[in-house]
Symmetry: C2
Subunit: 292 residues, 2 copies
């Protein structure tokens, strides 16, 4: 199967980045969103990203005109799908909304089109049936596209093995490292490790075993990492962290969720709000004296 | 309180490194071990370490003769302790042996001497009473001395606050970053985070969610770390990892402990035996192609 055209459903932050990378990789790209203003913003963001990539030296001279000529923005779903070889759905992380979207895509897409969802915590089996072609349905989960160049490929039980291998090839063409998650698992691999690590850090803090800075220092020095769990949480956003943690049931996670909620209620959301576990723009963990 | 003389009890790998750093920092050092051959090996290792440090450029010209003149090796405990301001006990990680040693130290040390244990998983309260001076007893836990320059300070409930602050100062003089663990907690901070992270990786593997390399890649790319959980386990040693994991009771830890045991039974102990989750001396995760 030759993939020529990729259809991105949902022109948010990650959808925009995936679409841009697809165009850079030489694919024809259809970007669909219900919201017309979001399509305009997506186009603007792509041009800014191209500038950033060219300036950073990460890419060698991305030809912006040539790349942008391969991207077509539309709020007509039938038009977006008509030539699609692969759909990458990247709409709001809401099972109801995703189900509705997949019902529509299933009706309108050509018979050969492969269906993928970029969900972070939901499972492909939740949408495989409603899409009408479970054997062509798989999770294809991008992290950041340009910085963390990972794409998780996570089939559900009914996914055709051929689809997995096509997506592995496509992931590489999109300049990502494909990671196979053999069975459905909420959070894939990275978030599973990340949450376990952050939960442990939360237990140390809420159990009054150690302070934020002591916990971060311990990890940073031993593994030569530029941040510890609380520095990472500030970057994830404490609202997002609270949202994830509050769904967990064990007592220590609940204690940590309550602590995160207190920060969120005070408007302390992490780096984006100017304060979280650290104060921004110059958090102490980034200071040269922190590990002295 | 001025600290002039430090007594190291147990001349193993870590005891030797702590003693050497103490001598480099200008302290008089008494190194005690019951085993005379271990004292000789310790002395040889110190000279090798000085050479390595000078070659690595990590230290600026450690004067080996001058440093080694400050280290005195003895298998006479009374002699080792007679001028000690601080004792750093670094004997085998066995509660029975440590208790016996602390009973002896308590009888022989001067009244002002501060007592510290370098235990990794036991708690200072297990030895505080038997030492005869619980208020002067604290855990003082070194990681690697020269590479991971962290020292955990973990008091038990009866430790005098003055002792904590003296040990914080001493930790800095020993070129370490002191990390305060406010309450007793087995595994301190780093091992608590490490074990939670490795447990999660073990669950992904034994649950057949993903393969070793996929799990390591996910972490390495997202956090720009030079190893993932299984690469780290190979360096810790699968025998040590099995020893720690097998004491845990939840079903997923038990499944992972059983897997580790199978590796250990086959002689696959990790980097030190030539094979663990990866093959050595050139494990795939260190190859330039691994993250491509």
């Amino acid at each position: 199967m030759t993939i020529t055209t990729i259809c991105i459903i949902g022109a948010g932050n990650l959808g925009t980045k995936i679409a841009l990378q697809a165009a850079i990789s030489g694919f024809q790209v259809q970007v669909y969103d219900v919201d017309h203003s979001r399509l305009q913003r997506s186009s603007t963001e792509m041009n800014l990203l191209i500038d950033q990539l060219n300036k950073s030296g990460q890419k060698t001279n991305v030809p912006s005109v040539e790349v942008m000529e391969r991207v077509y923005f539309t709020f007509n779903l039938a038009e977006a799908l008509q030539a699609a070889d692969v759909v990458i759905e990247s709409v709001t992380e809401d099972a109801g909304i995703k189900s509705e979207v997949w019902k529509e895509i299933g009706k309108l897409a050509p018979a050969h089109t492969i269906f993928t969802t970029n969900t972070s915590y939901l499972l492909p089996s939740q949408f495989a049936e409603v899409s009408g072609r479970p054997e062509k349905f798989c999770a294809f989960h991008f992290h950041d596209v340009f910085h963390s160049r990972v794409v998780d490929i996570m089939p559900h039980e009914g996914t055709d093995a051929k689809v997995i291998s096509i997506l592995e090839g496509l992931g590489r063409k999109l300049n990502q490292i494909p990671i196979l998650v053999k069975k459905e698992h909420s959070g894939y691999i990275f978030n599973t490790l990340l949450i376990a690590w952050i939960d442990a850090a939360g237990r140390l803090l809420t159990g009054e075993i150690a302070e934020v800075e002591a916990i971060d220092k311990s990890w940073m020095i031993n593994f030569n990492m530029s941040a510890g769990p609380f520095g990472i949480l500030d970057n994830v956003g404490l609202d997002t962290a609270w949202h994830i943690t509050s769904s967990r049931r064990n007592p220590s996670s609940r204690a940590f969720a309550a602590l995160l909620k207190a920060y969120v209620d005070q408007g302390k959301l992490g780096a984006k709000s100017g304060e979280g576990f650290y104060k921004y723009p110059n958090p102490s963990y980034k200071s040269v004296d922190f590990l002295k």
